[in-house]
């Protein structure tokens, strides 16, 4: 009775668990050791998305107060719908100009325009010859899809086999044409899940989430930017929006990009005076502080003032409460 009711069912249970474990281990083991999964066999939903890559110039004021000209690279999708927005430096404190959000970036295959809602720059650049390195420009964070195809090609050209993840594949390379390492993670449908840049022991990781299809292309709506320091500590900026502003209608986008900086209210940086001016040059908006302080902070002085206001209100409230309490006692 005991054997029939207790032992026999449990022996089946144990056997079932053992089979399940063996199957899952074998399933997990097989792709990790097989080299038949290459970059070429991965679906390429972003094929042909990139229309141009370009270097472009912008101005920052260094810690010594001098204006520096910096170059950055950007990837632009065909018809200008997808462009990157973010450029940041990981080895240095972000400059004032680095912190300005991009208004738009648009390339027509020959030229590139970029403009900033808050910042110092409006640039029109003739596209240079493209660099031939596996360059994971960190500024692709907001719109990595324009680079995924090229990255996969680079991995394929190097014969790098992916490592299987639960939800996709991971490619890694260390010789990337700049110090550090680079990793790309794509899902089973080829969608970009994450990319990672290793610099000086730190790892900068961009993760993507909340996919939706635009013209058959899986575009993530949200980005998480995670910095994993060498000591294992993490900093994360979660759930930031990726660039979606040009996804609606190509015709409208193109029509809207007949460039009119006045209409777009683009500021520009006057290198001679160190001032940021409005397009018609009539008004001085703010001066980028010397000493590498944030230009935004001087232009948006109230961004600090309101904070002081909140603390003042709390202090006043505390004082009022104390008076009332003393009056009552």
């Amino acid at each position: 009775m005991f054997h029939r009711c207790i032992v026999r069912p449990f022996s089946f249970l144990v056997l079932g668990v053992a089979i399940a474990c063996a199957t899952s281990v074998a399933g997990a083991w097989q792709p990790m050791n097989s080299n038949d999964v290459t970059s070429k066999s991965v679906p390429r939903p972003y094929a042909g998305v990139e229309a141009a890559r370009a270097s472009w110039v912008y101005h920052t004021r260094g810690s010594d107060g001098t204006v520096k000209v910096r170059r950055s690279r950007t990837a632009v999708a065909r018809d200008g719908r997808f462009g990157n927005t973010e450029h940041r430096f990981t080895l240095d404190r972000p400059s004032a100009a680095d912190q300005f959000p991009v208004y738009f970036v648009f390339g027509d295959g020959v030229r590139l325009w970029s403009a900033y809602g808050e910042g110092s720059r409006y640039t029109e650049t003739t596209l240079p010859k493209l660099p031939d390195v596996l360059d994971p420009a960190p500024q692709c964070g907001r719109a990595p899809w324009a680079r995924v195809e090229a990255w996969l090609d680079k991995f394929a050209a190097r014969g790098i086999a992916p490592i299987s993840l639960g939800n996709g594949l991971r490619y890694e390379a260390s010789d990337i044409g700049r110090p550090g390492s680079f990793a790309l993670e794509v899902g089973h449908a080829g969608e970009v899940l994450a990319f990672e840049l290793g610099i000086d022991g730190d790892r900068l990781r961009w993760e993507y989430d909340n996919f939706h299809e635009v013209g058959g292309i899986p575009i993530p709506r949200l980005m998480r930017h995670i910095t994993i320091h060498a000591d294992g500590s993490r900093e994360a900026r979660n759930g930031e929006a990726t660039l979606e502003r040009f996804e609606r209608d190509s015709a409208d986008v193109i029509a809207g990009l007949i460039f009119d900086p006045v209409l777009l209210n683009v500021r520009y940086f006057d290198e001679a005076t160190g001032e940021v001016r409005s397009p018609d040059k009539s008004s001085h908006l703010f001066t980028i502080d010397s000493g590498g302080d944030s230009g935004r902070s001087s232009g948006r002085w109230w961004s600090r003032a309101w904070l002081l206001g909140v603390f003042a209100a709390m202090g006043a409230s505390g004082w009022a409460a104390w008076k009332r309490w003393r009056g009552a006692s």
Binding site: E118, A241, M314, S317, W325
Partner: protein
């Protein structure tokens, strides 16, 4: 155990109770004002490019896919204004108990919103604190729970009234009892 209970009763009935509740209200009120201000100065890509403030928060609300897109901006403005008003009310100590109840209801409503958003889009950004803090929806839920707990003392009878008010009431009740 009895001693501990006695001490708790002593604290809740003491005149320090009101002061503790007031301090907690200041914390929550200040936090709500901070959240409203942070949203108002939020930077990032909004609907038609880089924006500050409400438009960016509206874009975050759109991403949550709960409020219809056409209402996202109004919802953003509304939540910022309501948050600021409730924060000021808490800081004013005027009708403290009612302020605490209204704030708790507001935080509970936000909590429901956050739960629904979590179910729809996963653990995305809540946008609650602008750029001051890139909290996820789950973080915001925990934070709202903590704020509700912080307001409980203000809703407790003896703690919601100043000592003078409590004394007056006790005296009137006593005299009613004698009569």
């Amino acid at each position: 155990m009895e001693a501990l209970a006695g001490r708790i009763v002593k604290i809740t009935t003491s005149r320090h109770g009101w002061w503790i509740a007031a301090a907690l209200r200041i914390v929550v009120g200040g936090f709500l004002l901070l959240a409203a201000g942070a949203k108002f100065t939020l930077s990032g890509p909004g609907e038609n490019g880089a924006h500050y403030g409400v438009a960016t928060f509206a874009a975050v609300i759109k991403d949550h896919k709960i409020v219809p897109e056409a209402w996202a901006y109004a919802a953003a403005v509304g939540s910022i204004v309501v948050e600021a008003c409730v924060g000021v009310w808490l800081l004013s100590h005027v009708r403290a108990r009612q302020a605490a109840i209204v704030t708790t209801a507001l935080l509970a409503a936000f909590g429901v919103y956050l739960l629904v958003a979590y179910a729809r889009v996963g653990n995305a950004s809540c946008g609650c604190m602008g750029k001051l803090n890139g909290a996820k929806l789950s973080d915001a839920l925990v934070r709202n729970g903590a704020m509700i707990a912080t307001l409980i003392p203000s809703m407790i009878g003896p703690w919601s009234r100043s000592h003078r008010g409590a004394l007056r009431r006790d005296t009137s009740q006593a005299s009613f009892g004698v009569a």
